[in-house]
Structures are given as structure tokens and as C-alpha cells.
């Protein structure tokens, strides 16, 4: 659905609603034929596990998904996580990370989309070039970043450049200085910008050409055109993208884990809450499912709060206009 809409917007094609036809077997029947499998999947694999997690989070459930009554600990798991300095640090770090990465990815993807709207030559080619990283596995990308580009040895790719400019090799992931953020942020931008760029292009294509023409007649060009036409018209796209970006910032796992984890463990810096929860609840084949569930409940709550705040904020802004 979303892909089709994007495609339509990309080609500038308008959705055409075909005339209603008589449906054999009744609409309700076919509605359930198509919806039931997905609904069943959603219930089984999404909602039941969420509810079950909530239940497990109240038990000291180790190596079991059906805890005994004597393993009931009430909110003990929540208390131990919320008094765990490492967990709180990871939450704090990732709130800061969110505040930085969301505007950065947003600006970067919007910039790419605007640039690609302007060029006349090889537009499809460049769209594909910037979109392809989205299709790359996070694991593979993390390995390229870690082993090749930002390898801390003197012969790492970036270090070779640094040395040729007269600098000394940098230990990108060693943790001495926060340069590991350069690695992680560049990796995330590379992996994700292409996708949001496509969403922005779709949004840009929905702005009618007549708006720009009218503005041009009033003498608006360049920045003014962007400030007063493009930007406000992208409001709904922006709201959706920011929400997606916030969620994905809190769900950070793959590229962090694969960039920074070693066989000995994961360093205490740049450690997303999900990675920390993974380590303490499932690391090394352990199954501290109660603690892990409590952690995911806390994280879900944080994401919900962020989402609601953002939604309310967007509504207020729109109402003002």
C-alpha cells in the first residue's frame, strides 16, 4: 500500500478509484478472507507476546515462560532496572542520541530529496544510488564500517587518509574519546537517509506546481520559496518521518551491536538500552525473561510518551496555522 502510494507520487500519477462492482460472496466474507490471516498473525506474534511480556515482567522468570506463583516479584524487576545505573545511563544516552540523530537524519534526507528534485540529468540514477544503502543489511554495513573504513589500525581506510594528511592513527572504537559516535552516526545516516529521502520525494511530489507558480509571480525564490511553500506543505510528511525516526532511534540495536560488540562483551559506552537489556537478559544463552520483559515494557512506555508528546505538538502547530 505504502509502496504503491510512494510509487504513484514518484511518477506523479494520481490514484484512480474504479467504479464499484458487485462482490461474489458478500463484502464481509471477502473482508475476512483477506484480513483474517494477517489479523491472526498480528494477534499471535505481536499482541499475545506483548501481553505475555507484561505478565512475565512481574516474575523472576529465568529459563521459563510459564513461571510458578512463588516466582512472583511484583514490580521487583522494574525497581531493579530503574535503580540500575547502567540501564539509566543507556536510557539517558539514547535520549541524547535521539535528540541529535533525528534532526540530523531529517535534514540530511530532506537535503538529498531537494537536491534530487532540482537536477534534470540522471535523476533516477541518483535516486537509486542514495536509496540502495537502505537495502543493505545492518550487519554487513556494520562490518564494513568496523573492519574496513574505521578500522583503528594504521592501515584502516580512514586512518590511511588521516596519516597521509600528517595525523596519527585514530582508535575509532576504542572508547578513549567519543569519536565512536562519528562511526555510528555516519553508519546510521548512510543506512537510513535513502529511505527517508524517498518519503520526502513522495511528499514533495504532492505539492502542486501551481503553488510554486503563484509564489513565483509574487516574487518568491530560493529560501523564501522553501520557507513559505515547501516546508509548510511537507508538515504531514514531517510528522510521520519524525515519529519513525524517534522509534528507530530507540530501537537501535543491529548496527551498534555489530560495530562495538567483541567476544568479551559490549563496552559500557554508546550502549543502547536494547543492547543492554539483551546482554543482561539473554546474553550467553541465559534467559532472564522477567527482567528482559520489564525492560521492554519500560522502553515501550518511553517510546509511547515520545510519540504522544510529538503528536500533540504537531497538532498544536497545525492548529496555530
Amino acid at each position: 500500500m505504502q509502496a504503491q502510494a510512494v510509487e504513484r507520487s514518484l511518477t506523479g500519477e494520481r490514484a484512480v478509484t474504479s467504479g464499484r462492482r458487485r462482490v461474489v460472496g458478500g463484502r464481509t466474507f471477502w473482508f475476512w478472507v483477506f484480513v483474517a490471516p494477517f489479523l491472526a498473525g498480528l494477534l499471535t506474534f505481536v499482541y499475545v507476546p506483548i501481553v505475555w511480556s507484561g505478565y512475565l515482567s512481574l516474575f523472576d522468570a529465568r529459563n521459563t515462560v510459564t513461571p510458578r506463583p512463588d516466582q512472583f516479584v511484583g514490580f521487583g524487576n522494574y525497581v531493579s532496572l530503574l535503580t540500575d545505573k547502567a540501564f539509566l545511563t543507556s536510557l539517558g544516552t539514547f535520549m541524547v542520541f535521539t535528540v541529535v540523530i533525528v534532526p540530523l537524519t531529517y535534514a540530511f534526507s530532506l537535503g538529498l530529496a531537494l537536491l534530487l528534485q532540482r537536477i534534470r540529468v540522471a535523476r533516477t540514477f541518483f535516486r537509486s544510488v542514495f536509496f540502495i544503502p537502505t537495502a543493505v543489511s545492518y550487519v554487513i554495513a556494520a562490518m564494513i564500517w568496523r573492519l574496513s573504513l574505521f578500522n583503528g589500525a594504521r592501515f584502516g581506510m580512514v586512518n590511511t587518509i588521516v596519516r597521509s594528511l600528517g595525523g596519527t592513527a585514530v582508535g575509532w572504537l576504542s572508547g578513549d574519546t567519543p569519536v565512536y559516535w562519528v562511526v555510528l552516526v555516519s553508519l546510521r545516516l548512510w543506512l537510513q537517509s535513502g529511505f527517508y529521502m524517498i518519503l520526502f520525494i513522495a511528499g514533495l511530489n504532492r505539492i502542486g506546481q501551481d503553488m510554486y507558480e503563484a509564489a513565483a509571480l509574487d516574487g518568491a525564490t530560493g529560501w523564501k520559496l522553501f520557507r513559505h511553500i515547501t516546508w509548510p506543505q511537507l508538515a504531514s510528511t514531517t510528522a510521520a518521518i519524525v515519529l519513525l525516526l524517534v522509534i528507530s532511534a530507540f530501537q537501535a540495536f543491529d548496527e551498534f551491536y555489530n560495530t562495538l560488540a567483541t567476544i568479551g562483551g559490549y563496552p559500557p559506552f554508546a550502549r543502547p538500552p536494547l543492547v543492554y537489556l539483551y546482554l543482561i537478559s539473554l546474553g550467553g544463552g541465559s534467559q532472564n525473561l522477567g527482567l528482559g520483559s520489564a525492560g521492554t515494557m519500560i522502553l515501550t512506555l518511553v517510546i509511547v510518551v515520545f510519540g504522544v508528546v510529538q503528536l500533540v505538538g504537531t497538532r498544536r502547530l497545525e492548529a496555530k496555522r
Binding site: S174, I263, G265, L282, G283, G285
Partner: protein
């Protein structure tokens, strides 16, 4: 979410069990890139009245292991045993399977089952299976894995980590292999040149792999004798960590190389004069450097310290909910206690490992002389295995503290206080 290895590769699968040293076992992640199909192979004879048992292995990186374990299973006369060769994240696969109704009857697990598995009643006590044969096994492998006075796994074969050093470089500089940490620091600094680093133990400066070794080499255990706290919350250990931090800040410690510590490539390429890596690297190092290398333990730190090497062994476990637990126990006894020829073959025909019974090491050609023999002796004299009570949560807290102390320069006492707090909570649950 994908939970793949940061680095996967063939031929390195057994070393993951040693990774439990700081809590995050990466056994499975290490074997993620193998080539086997993961299909189960069943032994042929399945007559009426015989028990049907399933036996799970993780994917060993070395060629021939799968064929060998299938052959052992097929040769067992009293039950029909089907081998399941599990690719991917083995530990997760086993712990998930143990929650279901179709559990593996017999399975291997890094250093034996976890304390949580035992407390949840997922595995059976194998004390009687080992019986009087216990004395034939390497005590340093068995003792730290005893939980509530019972033995829960039979060690299959021992793998270990040690210090490799270049003899020619030491001779040229007029140095002896280090037996104290001060000597290691001194040698590393003297051997460092523009192109060759002194000592290498991974791009995290050794925090990951040397975590437990530092405390063993400083003369401590991971868990105190009463089982209620860690053993190393002590000024002598604060000094040991400060010494390691100074070493890292100096010139002798190579911080980055072409590969991680578990790959001997940096040592073979001449990037470092000394490297901490595993016994598994021995065949490659020998082929590349001939006699120009030696092996040693991690040297003693401080006046109460003792040299130490890390050892580990996959242990054969029996699931409590299996189809026929008694038959499964009998099979484990037959294969891992009685069949000594198979045990020697399993240890030494596919890469170099050390049989869990020291007497068998003499029968194994690669361990008869040279560095192989030295490695076997290091395990017997200086070997340490992670304590079964050293849980993932304690390990995570400990490795975080170590990074903060060694990399970020935090105060050892404050940082270790956080480990003590985690450990006390965890250990109270295991008491």
C-alpha cells in the same frame, strides 16, 4: 533484530566458550559463517526396544567433526542416537528448545549448563555418571563447574588461551619470556618499534579477553569462598588494574591490528611481538613461524599473583525432560567417559585441543612435544575456568567496570563497587 556475530569465521568456533570469561558467551556468533547444512544425520540402526535419543552439537568450524560425532553416535550399541548439527546461534537454540516439549536428550553446552538451567530443573545431575572416573579428569576443568555439590556435565575436550611470543625478537633483545607482569610491560616496551607492537590482546586493549585473567593472575578467584560476593574487591586488585591501565597508556600495548585477538594473524604477520590468543591458533602459527615462537601463561601480577591461562570445555549435558533420561545418561557415560580412543580423536584429529583426561594427552601426537605439550602443562598447572556462579549479569557489570577503569581512567574502587552490588544480588539467588 538480528543478533549476528560482529565477526564470524570458520575454524574458530570452540573458542567462544572461553568468552564466558566476561559473561557474554559468543560461542554461537563465532560459528555463524560455517558451511554445514544443519540437517540432522541419523544413525542407521533403529531396532525395536532401543531408545531413540537426540544429541545436539554446535557447528564446529573444523572439517570432519560432524562426520566423527555422527560415527560415534552410530557406533553406540544400546540406543539409536541421531545427531543434530546446529548452525547459527547454538546457545539460544538450545535454551529455547529446553523450554519446549521436544528437548534434545543429550546436548553440549559451553562449560556445562548454566546455574539458571539447573535451578529451572532443565538438566540432570551427572555426578553418578562420572562416578569414580572423576579423578581421571582435569580438576581445574571440573571443580569450578560444580553446583550445589553436584556435577552437571561431562567435559568433552579442553580449549585454552595463552601468550604467544616471538623467540627471535626476545633473543635479539636479550630478554626472557615474562613470568611477572612487570617483566611483560618491560619486554613489550623494549620490543616495540615503528612497525612492531609489543603486546596485543584485541582492539579493546584486552579488556574483553583478559577480564578474568587479570584477577586470576593477581591471585584472586572470581567468586569468594562463601559464595556470597566477588573475591577481588581488594586493594591489591585495584593496584593490578591500575598497573594494567598504565600499561595501556604506555607504548608497549598494541591497540589495533589487522584482526582481533582470537585470530593469530597479527602475531604471524609480525604486527606484535607477543599476542594473547588461543590454542586453536597453534597449527597456523607453527606452519608460519616454525620454531620461532614460544607459549606462556599470563604472568603473575603483584606479590600474591600467580601465572594463569584460561581454559574451557564444552560439557555434555542430559535434559530432564528427554524421552529416556536413563538411556541418555548411559550414552553420555559411554561416549565421554569410556570411549577413550574417540575422545583422543575428537580432541586432536580436527585442530588441536586437549583431552579432558590428562592421561590421554600423552596419547595425542600434537601434544607430545613442543608448544602443544607446553599448552597441556599450562592447563594442568595454571588453568582456570569461569565459575558457574559467574552469571551473565555479573560478567556484564564486570566488563563495563573494566572498560571504565582501563580505557576511561575511572577509579577502580568505585567501579568495582557496582560489580559487588550486582554480584551480591545475583549470588543471593544462587545460594
Amino acid at each position: 533484530m538480528t543478533h549476528h556475530a560482529p565477526l564470524g569465521g570458520r575454524g574458530i568456533s570452540r573458542r567462544g566458550l572461553l568468552a564466558a570469561s566476561t559473561g557474554i558467551a559468543a560461542t554461537a556468533v563465532l560459528s555463524a559463517c560455517g558451511t554445514n547444512s544443519g540437517l540432522s544425520s541419523s544413525s542407521s540402526s533403529s531396532s525395536v526396544g532401543k531408545a531413540n535419543l537426540s544429541q545436539w552439537y554446535h557447528e564446529y568450524g573444523e572439517d570432519g567433526v560432524q562426520a566423527a560425532v555422527t560415527k560415534y553416535a552410530a557406533a553406540y550399541p544400546k540406543a539409536s542416537v541421531s545427531v543434530k548439527w546446529t548452525t547459527g546461534d547454538y546457545e539460544k537454540a538450545v535454551s529455547a528448545a529446553l523450554l519446549t516439549q521436544t528437548v534434545p536428550d543429550v546436548f553440549e553446552y559451553a562449560n556445562g549448563p548454566t546455574a539458571d538451567m539447573i535451578l529451572a530443573g532443565e538438566v540432570l545431575d551427572l555426578t553418578d555418571v562420572l562416578g569414580s572416573a572423576k579423578s581421571q579428569f582435569n580438576a581445574s576443568i571440573i571443580t569450578p563447574r560444580i553446583f550445589r555439590d553436584k556435577i552437571w556435565a561431562i567435559p568433552q575436550t579442553i580449549d585454552m588461551q595463552m601468550l604467544y611470543y616471538r623467540k627471535s625478537l626476545f633473543d635479539k633483545a636479550g630478554l626472557q619470556p615474562p613470568t611477572t607482569f612487570a617483566a611483560l610491560v618491560d619486554a613489550a616496551a623494549k620490543l616495540t618499534t615503528k612497525d612492531v607492537g609489543g603486546f596485543y590482546a584485541g582492539s579493546d586493549s584486552g579488556v574483553g579477553v583478559l577480564g578474568l585473567l587479570l584477577l586470576w593472575a593477581a591471585g584472586f578467584n572470581s567468586i569468594s569462598s562463601d559464595g556470597k560476593n566477588v573475591d577481588f574487591d581488594d586493594p591489591a586488585f585495584y593496584s593490578a588494574l591500575a598497573a594494567y591501565k598504565a600499561f595501556r597508556d604506555g607504548t608497549g600495548l598494541l591497540r589495533n591490528a589487522s584482526a582481533e585477538w582470537y585470530d593469530a594473524a597479527p602475531f604471524i604477520n609480525g604486527e606484535a611481538a607477543m599476542q594473547w590468543t588461543g590454542l586453536w591458533a597453534l597449527p597456523k602459527v607453527k606452519a608460519a613461524l616454525g620454531d620461532d615462537f614460544g607459549v606462556a601463561a599470563f604472568p603473575a601480577i603483584g606479590s600474591a599473583g600467580k601465572p594463569a591461562v584460561a581454559a574451557g570445555a564444552y560439557g555434555a549435558c542430559v535434559a530432564a525432560k528427554g524421552t529416556d533420561p536413563d538411556a541418555a545418561k548411559a550414552f553420555v557415560k559411554w561416549l565421554w567417559v569410556d570411549q577413550e580412543d574417540d575422545q583422543v580423536e575428537f580432541s586432536t584429529a580436527f585442530g588441536t585441543h586437549i583431552p579432558a583426561k590428562p592421561a590421554l594427552a600423552a596419547k595425542a601426537t600434537p601434544l607430545a612435544s613442543g608448544a602443544g605439550a607446553a599448552a597441556a602443562k599450562l592447563v594442568a598447572d595454571n588453568g582456570h575456568v569461569p565459575d558457574i556462579r559467574w552469571t551473565t549479569a555479573i560478567g556484564t557489570a564486570y566488563s563495563s567496570a573494566l572498560t571504565n577503569i582501563i580505557v576511561k581512567g575511572a577509579d577502580p574502587k568505585t567501579e568495582l563497587a557496582a560489580v559487588v552490588s550486582t554480584a551480591k544480588t545475583e549470588l543471593a539467588k544462587l545460594a
